[in-house]
Structures are given as C-alpha cells and as structure tokens.
Symmetry: D2
Subunit: 158 residues, 4 copies
Amino acid sequence: MPTFTPYPAPELQISEWLNTPSPIRLSDLRGKVVLIEAFQMLCPGCILHGMPLAAKLHALFRESGTVAVLGLHTVFEHHEAMRRASLEAFLHEFRYTFPIGIDAHRDGQTVPETMQAYKLRGTPSLVLIDKRGVVREILFGQVDELALGVAIGKMMAE
Amino acid sequence: MPTFTPYPAPELQISEWLNTPSPIRLSDLRGKVVLIEAFQMLCPGCILHGMPLAAKLHALFRESGTVAVLGLHTVFEHHEAMRRASLEAFLHEFRYTFPIGIDAHRDGQTVPETMQAYKLRGTPSLVLIDKRGVVREILFGQVDELALGVAIGKMMAE
Amino acid sequence: MPTFTPYPAPELQISEWLNTPSPIRLSDLRGKVVLIEAFQMLCPGCILHGMPLAAKLHALFRESGTVAVLGLHTVFEHHEAMRRASLEAFLHEFRYTFPIGIDAHRDGQTVPETMQAYKLRGTPSLVLIDKRGVVREILFGQVDELALGVAIGKMMAE
Amino acid sequence: MPTFTPYPAPELQISEWLNTPSPIRLSDLRGKVVLIEAFQMLCPGCILHGMPLAAKLHALFRESGTVAVLGLHTVFEHHEAMRRASLEAFLHEFRYTFPIGIDAHRDGQTVPETMQAYKLRGTPSLVLIDKRGVVREILFGQVDELALGVAIGKMMAE
C-alpha cells in the first residue's frame, strides 16, 4: 500500500439507511475500527470483489465488538438504474445484511456528498478508519485480503 | 447431464431487443446451433456464472457462423428493480455485447411468456437448440464448461 | 486453436505402466478418441492444470466407452528427482487412477522417446487423437475447457 | 480460530538448510514475528495452498524486517519419494526462494524431530510465533488469508 496522509474522517451524509433500525453516525463509533465499503450496485468490481469482501469482513468481526463494517452506496453514474428499489432487490438477492447508507445527493450534483468529502476515486473503495476516527487508508479496486488483514489487525491493537 | 426429452423449440416472445439492429427469430436460425442464456440481471448465479459463460460462448463462436448465442431477460421477481434502464446499465457496465431479448410479459402475469413456454425452472438456464430447431438440453444453474463444450461440439457435427 | 497439420499418431514407447493391469497400445484403441496428457510430476503447470484436467476428462468419459484418457510421464529435466518411487507417491497423494505410461529413455538421451516422436514443446501437453489414430491437436500449456470440449465432441461425432 | 494454549517455541531441529547461506535458529529471531510453513513437497494441500501462501507471506514481509518466513520440510510418509534431490527440483520449479529447513530424522523414526516437538497434526501446518518466541497459533490445512492477516497484524503491533 502506498503512503497515505491520514486525516479526520468526515461525517457520513446519508439520505436513507437500509439493514439498520436507526441511522449510524461515525461519531458514535469512536473506539472501534470502522471499515466502509463504498460501492455501486451495478459496478462489476463491486459485485465481484468489493461487496463479497465487505460481507466477509462483517461476518468475521460481527462478534468482536471492536470492528464495524458499513456499506455506502455512492451512485455517480447510471442514477436512474440504481434507485432504491433496485438496490433493495440487489441486497436481498445477494443476502447482504450489514448496514448500508445511501450517499446523499445535493440537487443537480452527479457525485454524492460523502463520496466528494472523502475524495473517492471511484468504486469499489474501502475506507479504513481507526479507533480515533482518523482515515488511515482508502483502498481502490480489488483488495488483497492478507495485506488488508494485517492493516486491520494493527489498527485493532492500537 | 440427466436424460432430457427433446422437443421443438417454441418461438421467442420478445417485447424489446438490445444489442441487435433487428429482432431475431429462432425460425431464421435453422442450420445453426442456438444457445440461449435465460437470466435476470440481479440473480447472483446469472451475474457470477451464467452471463460470463454466455459472453465466453459468444466470443468463441463469433466467427464460426454455425453457433448463435442469445440472452433472454426473463424477469419473474423484483420486476420494479430490473426495468430496461437498469438492464441497459448492467449490460454497459459488464460490456455484454451479444443480442439480448426482453422476455414479454402478458398483463398481470408474474412469469414472462418465453420462460413459461420453455418451462424454465429459474435463472440462470442455458437452452441448447440444435440445427433443426429442437431443444436438446436445458442446463439450470452453474454449468461445467468441459461437458458443455462436448455437447455443443456434437451438435455442431450433426 | 491455431491450424495444425494432422498426422498418424506414433506408437507409445513406454518403459513401465502404472494404474493398468496390462500395457496399452494405441493401435488397440482405434475407434476411440484418445487423449494423452504428457506431464512431469514436478512441473507446476502439470500439477496445477494438466493433471487435474486429465483426471476430470477421465471421470467424464469413464463410462462412455468412446474416449480413452492416458497419462504420459515425459521426464526431460531433473531426472533424478522424478524417479518411479516419487511418481508413485505423487499419483497416490493426488488420487490419480487413470493409466500412466513412463516414457522410455534411450541410453544417454535427455528427452524420452515418445516425447521426441510427437515433437512435444514441453509439459503439460495434451495430445488429441481421433478414432482413426490421427493426431488432430496438441495443446501446450493451460487449456480452455470449453474449447477443448468442443474439439472432443466433434471428434466423438465423427 | 479455536482457542489455543500458547507455549514457548521449541528450537528447530534441522538436518540441512536450503535457500540460506547459514543455518537459522529461532533464538536468533527474537523480536520478530516468525511464520513457519511445515510442508511435504508431495502433499496436495501443501502444493496448492500452503507453499503459495508461504511465498506470498515472504514477499509481503521481505522488506519489513519484523516478520520472518521459514519453510520446514517435515517428511513423515513416502520418505523415499521426497529426498533432497526431489525437494531441490520442486523448489526450483516453483521458484520458492525463502529459507527451507529439512526436519531432522532420528534413526528408525517415521515422524521427524521438529514435527514431534510441535505436535503437528499433519501438513500443511502454519506455525505463528510471536516476538517473544511463543507459539500463538498452529493453523492446519487451508488458511483464510484475511483472518491470518489480522492475527499477524496484531502480533506485529505487540
């Protein structure tokens, strides 16, 4: 992983939450490692790699209490094709049960708010936030599980 | 592959075609082996196995002139989630360029017309039609490429 | 597959047979499609791709009576490392049960006899012989199962 | 990973070293996380999973200075088939360049010395030793890279 300059994680800007009884705020997750999978439901790399990895992370750490896994639906293309009804069918068909926030769109903007705030290059992007709420890495594209595990293990031990 | 009773292939009932300048009729394809990939764009088995296989078949036989590969979008669930705009974005994102017919829905029916006529069990289903227009096999779920190749090679040699 | 000029299959020159009660001669297999997997037990491509494919072919066609699958141990390097005791342990550990012939070495020759007669480029090589005993294809390296199946299906239909 | 009772790592008992200019002692590696891949060159799980993983670990941590990766050839079956000449050909063919120790055999014993001392269940086994020289985990069979990475990352942070 190349060098990355850490910075305080901007709060999520979410228009709607799925798979969670109440909205989630990063500020409520201090003390936990937070992993955010930014995805679009029709992006091939997200379907084939990003979302299965997020589901695996969620299953691995569900009982840990020290790592939280979130999905962030950052639609920046084909907006008409990826509305809430399609997203819900996608999550249902693939059995994705971890919390998913739909990134908020300001009127007339193509790129949604949270995606802009984090300056994501595209999807899938995996955002690693440490226990103090600092963005430590943003991994774009296919992620190596071994190297990812090492990075998470180190953050858990801090 | 279990024993299958061959029968004359019913004509396709298509409401709209994509990736083709003009509608395609099975009756115009006599003399060719025809492979029809019945899929739903949000069905995991279709995304992960069925459609990549169909694309591979299309690439392998594109120059042959003796094998035709078609997709059939047989939506029988989550209808709202898989409208034409979503399907077009899906095909664009995954770079699927072979002809796709949208299976026609009669008013008030959940299962579309062609899917009913072929009595498909679900998606993905790969329909193998021989040069005389007879359905020789319908393969449901993940398909073994080696066995499939043998079946196609035999039909090509008829 | 590139163009290949068919030629009559030279008879196998085998010093020892494993996994078969009696020696096998190509001339006794006329009327069957014959698939010969030429391998070395310590060649990575053979271990990872060639031999698993040969085993799969053997399982697929075991009951057919029309396709025979053979292994040919063509040692042309590291001779000391791949003697019969090592080969037997290899076959036992990987549960390979199809007939294996050890390609005969003439005194002082590095490349064994059958490998020379077929002018194999290296290992793994899959030799496709038709029902009349003619070599139709020699596939070097990793083989696509779909295309291979088509080639076999056509030969079966001849 | 199930609960494991940590214990001080017994010193390695090695008859010969490959891929290293001088013998390696665990006692010289205090302060580093040590990962030992116990394998047999003809064990399928070792060839397909264990050794590729060890090579990946070696490549990932080569520059780190804080993680050492070793191979341990623990032959407990087919002794005749896995002598040094065969092992050297295996390492050469698969391009394995990390240090490999051949586990020492006492006269008349089937199971080699280090394998006995660590009470390994079989091969492949991955032994995780922390910076203080304590065995923290022994992973038998195919290992999940994500979970392994987390375990290594935590040990690195200690």
